[in-house]
């Protein structure tokens, strides 16, 4: 897992077009990044089409158990859950991959559900959690970082101490602890009720755990920006704090923040899948790639594809995000040094 230390990009109050446009152009020229972006878009579109696949192609409901079902392959009908013939001949094993695009392409899980369709649906959940946690995390972190860096003194002290505390917790521990407590029983704070099965819980937990990761570098940038002449000039000319933050500080912080985004999404997806594999992430009846892997672990040696396929999907998406992230970094803030920490 990597963090980035960032340098304030050297621009004065921007005429908004040129640096952004040249950065975007540079990104577009980066073939690897563009391919990665294409792969990501493909995944997003395909998972969005999940209902269409389930209803119109496979004609099954990937969320309802189908233990008694039968499926037509070629000219025969076969049971979805097949009696075991090996070993002791006890129990049933779900059907394996049929490689038939319209029926149980990757086989069934232990409840007879179509794994491929579930993966499509699960993709929506995983991607949703990844992107929204990433967005929330970066937004909150940027705001906190800008406030702490700009206003300094008391504001900075409070925010920094809070960040230090959250950061001192090893992330896995914080995420797991919060999830164990909240996810199975929901959050009930008087005015705020979040049900136990809501996706909002993993999203918020994962987002908050990574806030210091982004907030500290942002704070650092704002600190160094504050000393720069053009900010001093703006302050001296009587501009309001809000105006300065919006018009002078933000445009200089933005490129570095943008660099964070793809990487945070990848990190969040990996964290969500870890939590879900442990059973404390996404809860049934929802499915995510992580939960499908969890389901597949019981069938690991008999029907390995149930566990293999979602994992491969995660790897593909995260590789694409990382490649895109590298490209974004090269285009928007090449001096950002790649550092790592957990």
């Amino acid at each position: 897992m990597e963090a980035i230390t960032l340098n304030a990009v050297e621009t004065t109050a921007l005429d908004s077009d040129s640096p952004w446009r040249s950065s975007l152009q540079q990104l577009r020229r980066n073939r690897a990044a563009m391919i990665a972006l294409g792969v990501l878009l493909f995944m997003v579109i395909v998972t969005l089409l999940a209902p269409i696949y389930a209803h119109d192609i496979a004609h099954d409901n990937p969320f309802a158990s189908n233990l008694q079902g039968r499926v037509k392959i070629g000219n025969h009908f076969r049971s979805v859950m097949q009696s075991n013939t090996q070993g002791l001949g006890l129990g049933v094993t779900p059907i394996g991959p049929t490689w038939n695009f319209s029926k149980y392409f990757l086989g069934a899980d232990q409840l007879g559900r179509d794994v491929f369709a579930r993966i499509l649906y699960g993709g929506r959940v995983t991607l949703l959690i990844g992107f929204s946690s990433g967005l929330i995390c970066i937004t909150v972190a940027t705001v906190l970082g800008m406030l702490a860096g700009y206003f300094g003194r008391a504001t900075d002290w409070i925010i920094s101490r809070a960040l230090d505390i959250v950061w001192a917790f090893p992330i896995y521990l914080l995420a797991i602890s919060l999830s164990v407590i909240l996810v199975t029983s929901g959050l009930d704070l008087g005015i705020i009720h979040i049900g136990a099965g809501s996706l909002l819980l993993p999203i918020l937990i994962i987002a908050s755990v990574y806030v210091p990761y982004v907030a500290r570098p942002v704070r650092g940038i704002v600190f160094s920006l504050k000393e720069r002449d053009f900010i001093q000039a703006a302050i001296a000319s009587g501009a309001s704090d809000w105006h300065i933050l919006r018009k002078e500080i933000w445009p200089n912080v933005a490129p570095s923040v943008i660099v964070f985004f793809p990487l945070m999404v990848a990190l969040n997806i990996l964290t969500e899948s870890a939590l879900s594999i442990l059973g404390i992430g996404v809860q049934p009846p929802q499915a995510s790639w992580g939960t499908i892997i969890n389901d597949g672990l019981q069938l690991l040696y008999t029907r390995p594809w149930v566990a293999i396929a979602p994992g491969i999907c995660i790897v593909i998406v995260c590789v694409a995000l990382n490649i895109l992230g590298d490209g974004v970094r090269d285009a928007f803030d090449p001096r950002a040094k790649l550092r790592g920490s957990i």
Binding site: M1, E2, A32, D164, I165, A168, F169, P170, Y172, L173, I176, S177, L178, V180, I181, L182, T184, S185, G186, L187, D188, L189, G190, A266, L270, S273, A274, I277, L278, G290, I293, L297, L300, Y301, P304, A307, I308, G311, I314, V315, C318, V319, L321, N322, I323, D326, K337, L338, R339, G340, S341, I342
Partner: protein
């Protein structure tokens, strides 16, 4: 220098205290969550709930509960489990520690070797084919969920191929070093590789970035103007400076791992180290066990962070002046 160390120590203790309070609050005091029902189980009857609350002092005010737990943990050292009543926590942790250390030791050796070589090879051949190739592997390594990777490794080595190619790979578990060194290594081989993969990817990427940055520094130009060979410049000047920034990263990573961050790897491969223990505690909501493991983990993270700061001052002569 002494004042520096004293300050670090003080802030370390403060951090540990804060972590312990936070963990305590999370498990005991999250609003809208009843700790007694967590301990007793989800479907416990009201009578059982009252019993649990009484037994574990859950009716006392929060600070007292916290104080009691800390007292039992550190001073009397007889903290017992809520779940396996009577099991002492501290001995469990001390028994689990060597396993975690064994896992980390081997993984560290592998990931340093692979990561540093990868970074150097990529930087040396910047722009040529092998550079993006190595970087791709690095990216792939950090994109794989560790737990899933472990399961895939098990699938390959314990599944169909177990009878043929991989018959020699044991199915999880741990053999102590003192008992049988060969078996110790054999049992840890794949856990080492699995854990190392993630970090090797990170280190290769970070090192490549650092090396390339450093190769553009003025002192490299001076070294070249001195007539030194490119090889010497890369290894003796650029690499030496790049490794410095890796040190702090490394220290933190090892600290966190010793503290139990490898819990997913331990769980997958059935290695009953501290991470595994933490996981058991979390699953069973065995709060004293969780507390014990968390404090143990936090201690090492904080210790590692302090050691890194001091070590950094030693390795980078520029920092010594400031410290």
């Amino acid at each position: 220098m002494l004042r520096f160390i004293a300050k670090r120590l003080a802030s370390a203790i403060l951090v540990m205290f804060t972590i312990s309070v936070l963990v305590f609050l999370i498990f005991f005091a999250t609003p809208g969550v009843n700790p007694a029902s967590r301990i007793a189980g989800r479907s416990a009857s009201p009578a059982v709930l009252r019993q649990v609350a009484k037994e574990f002092g859950l009716n006392r005010p929060l600070p007292i509960r916290y104080g009691l737990m800390m007292f039992h943990l550190f001073i009397k050292q007889d903290l017992t489990s809520y779940v396996n009543i009577g099991d002492k926590i501290i001995p469990q942790i001390t028994a689990a520690a060597p396993i975690t250390l064994s896992l980390i030791f081997g993984a560290v050796v592998i990931w340093l070797f692979v990561g540093i070589s990868g970074g150097v090879i990529a930087a040396k051949n910047k722009g040529k084919f092998i550079d993006p190739l190595v970087m791709f592997f690095g990216i792939a390594a950090i994109s794989i969920p560790v737990y899933w990777l472990g399961q895939m490794v098990l699938l390959v080595t314990q599944g169909g191929l177990h009878r043929s190619i991989f018959a020699w790979i044991p199915n999880g578990g741990y053999v102590s070093l003192t008992q049988n060194p060969w078996q110790w290594a054999l049992h840890l081989l794949f856990p080492w590789l699995t854990l190392a993969s993630l970090y090797a990817g990170i280190y290769a990427r970070v090192l490549r970035g650092e090396l390339i940055n450093n190769m553009n520094e003025d002192y490299i130009r001076t070294a070249r103007a001195k007539g030194l060979s490119e090889r010497r410049i890369l290894y003796r000047h650029a690499l030496r400076c790049s490794l410095i920034s890796i040190v702090s990263l490394f220290g933190l990573d090892v600290g966190v791992l010793v503290g139990g961050a490898a819990l997913l790897t331990e769980v997958v491969f059935g290695l009953q180290g501290v991470g595994w223990l933490t996981y058991q505690g979390l699953q069973n909501l065995d709060l004293p066990l969780i507390m014990g493991c968390v404090m143990y983990g936090a201690f090492f993270v904080v210790l590692a962070s302090a050691v890194v700061d001091v070590l950094y001052a030693y390795i980078d002569p520029r920092v010594r002046v400031v410290a």
